[in-house]
Symmetry: C2
Subunit: 160 residues, 2 copies
């Protein structure tokens, strides 16, 4: 492609990216404030509990880091605190005793469900101006972006 055409498509992708990160940060900031003011809970803590909730068999600490959507939290520190509060248990992996796994206790699962319900309501409110038939194609488009990122990541790994 000639340079100026190549640059045009880059500019469009840049415009998409700026809108994506800007919307994402506006919503994230609001959710962060709501978790703090209503529950005294940080967003990374909710995010970590959410990852564990989806895996009743537990996750190794390495997997847990990878599964978090908001990645700036200190995983070990959060797990320590949740363990002290009786919300998480940690155990050595029987197949490799150098590796720790963590999982939510029943109390942890119950607590998480309360947070998750409120989180769902907050998002419903924040995006309340969107009609259902607008949301569906948006989800599809975000899945398409995810797919593009995944394919690229796989190609990068294959090259190594």
């Amino acid at each position: 492609m000639p340079d100026n055409v190549e640059q045009d498509t880059e500019v469009k992708k840049l415009a998409l990216w700026i809108r994506l990160i800007s919307n994402s940060n506006i919503i994230e900031k609001e959710i962060r404030n709501l978790f703090r003011s209503e529950f005294g809970v940080t967003l990374p803590r909710f995010d970590l509990m959410s990852a564990l909730y989806r895996e009743p068999g537990g996750l190794t600490m390495g997997e847990l880091s990878k599964r978090m959507l908001v990645s700036n939290g200190n995983v070990t520190g959060i797990v320590d605190r949740l363990q002290k509060e009786g919300l998480v248990k940690r155990w050595v992996l029987p197949t490799d005793r150098r590796i720790y796994s963590a999982g939510l206790t029943q109390k942890g699962r119950n607590d998480f469900k309360i947070l998750a319900d409120r989180h769902r309501q907050w998002i419903g409110d924040i995006l309340g101006g969107l009609k259902d038939d607008e949301v569906t194609p948006m989800i599809e488009m975000m899945d398409r972006v995810r797919e593009v990122l995944k394919v690229r990541n796989e190609n990068k790994r294959a090259k190594k």
Copy 2:
């Protein structure tokens, strides 16, 4: 609306939000790593320079904080460092001598352009799997989300 219908629309919006933040964080992480490895520059620093670049007349420190997309940076600290490197100037606002404004120097503008060109190329590469005719409706949808957030914010303010 009956409770279960209400909950269905919340679930869809939650699905959208999770994809939005997840895609956004994947791309942000990659851009953050590229800025660090290729230029030794943090993402908040780029973000701050970008906000100043768009306002040749300068921005007050308060406005500057609001304009940043990646909000976890320490604005004053970054401006201090950029000033020491001769990339930013700071001055007292003639109309209110308690307020500081900051702006990019010519050297700052030149430096930023180099970073911005690479940033555009990286995004073009990261989202390279998307065709142009896929990107346009995605931009429109992100503008629609932005609009919904803006209207909600205005209504919230009006209620106060």
